[in-house]
Amino acid sequence: MAEEMNATLTIPIEALSAEAFAPYGWTLGQPPSPTATEPSFSNPFTDFWHAHAFQTGASGQVEFLWVNYRDTRRDIGVLEVHHLTEQAIVPLTGDIIQVVTLDDAPDHDTTPSGLRAFRVPVGLGICMRPGCWHTTRAIGTAATCLMVTRSSTTVDLVGHLQQGLPAGRKLTHSTARAFTARLTLSDPLFAAALADIARTATETSMTLPAPLILDTDVLVIGAGGAGMSAAIAAAETGARVLLADRSLIGRGGATIMAQMTVAVALGEQTEDHWTHHYQDTLAAGRGLCSEPLARILCEEGVQAIRLLDSWGVGWARADGHLTQAHAPGHDRPRCVYVDYLNTGPAVAKTLRAQVAHTAGVQRVGELVVVDLLLDAERVVGAVALHLESGDFVLVRAGASVIATGGLTRLYKRNSASLNMGGDGFALALRAGARLLDMEFVQFFPIGHLAPRLVGFDPIMWDPFRYKLGGKLLNRDGVEFVERYGNANEGGKYTTTRDAATYAIIKEVEAGRGSPAGGAYLSFRHVPETTLRAAFGPIIGRLAAAGIDLTQQMIEVAPIAHYHMGGILVDTDLATDVPGLYAAGEAVGGANGANRLSGNAITEAVAFGLRAGRSAAGSTATLTRLSDQALQAAAAPVIERSSSPANATARPNYAALIEELQTIMQLHVGPFRNDAGIRHALAAIATLRDRAGPGIPPGGAQDPVRLDALDLRNMLLVAESVARAALARTESRGAHQREDHPAQDEAWTLNQTIAWRDGQWALATQAVDRLPTVSAAPDVLTPAERQA
């Protein structure tokens, strides 16, 4: 039933032009061709010109009909045709949509082909040839039109309408036919189409006004944890900052979705030092962590997380100190959090308030950066699309910081937000920057699978396991992680993410998965009082959703959660393109082949603060590009990002994005092999062909244009992941190759990938080591040792 209703042919609405309408007839009112031989006249008081010589096609009088069109339906069910006479329609009070086809299918049940829809604005008109099937729609509420026709044609039509003659019956002069298939105009509200078409017409026929230029010292792209931290730090040095986000400031991105853990060696719960955290981070990263970056994360993370505390984030406290949970892979309790499942929202809210209180930060939401601009191989600003208005704007910046997070939206099963399609990686690639270890995508092992839960983040069970342990069970109710080389969990949460993902997928492959294709997670052994003490209001929300954890197991499965790879940076968070910095998850290297639980927010804030300071410090002596030079640099980007796609053939970009997600999940997901990755690369190329080069222009918050821009970025970034995954012929951490199941010490290397002049360049390099940082005690000061 649903399928029948959705067997829909959609017809895009086109702007009227003489060439486009020529198969169906003539346009009326467009200025005469300079070579026209028909009479025309022009003086300061009057212009007139020949528009068309009307042919009645048979004997009978020409008739002027006054028509009020009130049909604003989007669905097209009936068309009519006049076999002998022409018919003209001139809208007088409001624009109309004229739907036409020349397909004269004999069977009225057959869906006509070649349907096109033209917007006919007030001031113009059309005259249809005989044999042109058509119907008319008003835009808004009604449109009064002048119609020119032949009187006997009208008599026929009135007879048909009044007598309700069967559709498809041929009358003397006119015919109408109905269709069982659903035909529908592409933009359901003609007004929305009208705005877009008006814009298209403007852009193709007139010189565009120069885009607005925003001036700043530091452009920060992305307003999650890393971006907001970078904006604060840059502004505190006195720099002017433009903080841009494609969503709303501090609401999109991954930070706000964090459920619980923030790892940092505060030594509140138990004695600790950043070097212990550092050793755990390196161990989790399986030999691939950039040690200088891991050190910054662990060492500067302490100050960063204290700073959040001083800004009132509200870390959970008990017994006079911050509470620190013991997460898998850590040698001791180290993770602060905000109850209940509220860590991310609290961090985002705190930073958002702090940004608002920081002088020198201009916050602009709904601004999506389309491309970075380069001059003399330095990033000097960006072209952005202001979604709220639908206009391009230019940003002139001394330095730019990419803080757009990761790429987990590339996968069908993910814990991503809409913004996590890897925008920043695409920007960096097109600007010539190298990316590092793109093959390492972390799959969070126990993403919620079933039953369907509404209004909960799929990683919600992580905090439950931190606090309550829980049991991971197979179809038969048996614990299984120890079958895959892990220690028995013994009711605790000890298995690292890469190992648990491996165990669950292998158990499912062995036919011992849960009904929905994952594993069971059980808290049935936990008393209700304990559940309520740990998760208070959440237990009530689960009950409202029909889930009683004392009685019922839930099903979990791995979902794409975080990306260890990212933009290659030095310890100033500078990329290898001057003027370009990166922060947060967008940075590659700190977490190696697998990220330790709790490191993401620490990394976001610590790297953000450092990147903001570095970027601000790099801009002092720069000469800024002139308006003209900036516009010249931007012109090809704007051209490339607004070249009208073929409106009649454009794909549903949102559906193509879903296809890409399925391909990545299947072939470049938790398990990969050579054939699968090659299949994915071919499929990506096919998707790119189907998407075509055009990006449809659009008005304010046009979702089609944004999908097209997103798809373009996602295809580029997906290809970088697939190419890196294909090249690394070993299994390590989050990169598991079925055809190369063992870790290969010869591959204890970082892999870089660049995209220059349309060519991919892969290379390997030695992992950055820090010989001076080893075990903790000898670097501790006496005061630290007592802490």
Binding site: H386, E388, G546
Partner: protein, 126 residues
Amino acid sequence: MSTNDAKDATPITLRIQRGVPQHAAAVMAYAVPAEAAASLLDGLRWVRTHVDDTLAFRYACINANACKECMMRLDGKTVYACTARLEAGGDYAVAPLPNKPLVRDLMTAIAPAKERLFNGDEDDEH
């Protein structure tokens, strides 16, 4: 509740108010398979990928009720689309927030003035 309950296959009907400022709004009806629309947001996303990709609505975090961007009206009540549950066979009216300036379809201007590019007129409007 169990995952294997017999599923009611009756489609859900979403009657969605659409339009841009300065033009009359229209209501479009979409039939959505019940299993594709546990939440209103799921249903809207299904419409975009399967029927009509021009439908505009605001969201970021998808299902976590964290970003708080997906506020709209469901049968006259203000809801978060990601937490509003739909029932098989249900017939629902979906509309943009009535007290915020319309941007397109179900999207309204909800950002604070100081977080928007053009905010100079804001004080005059309110």
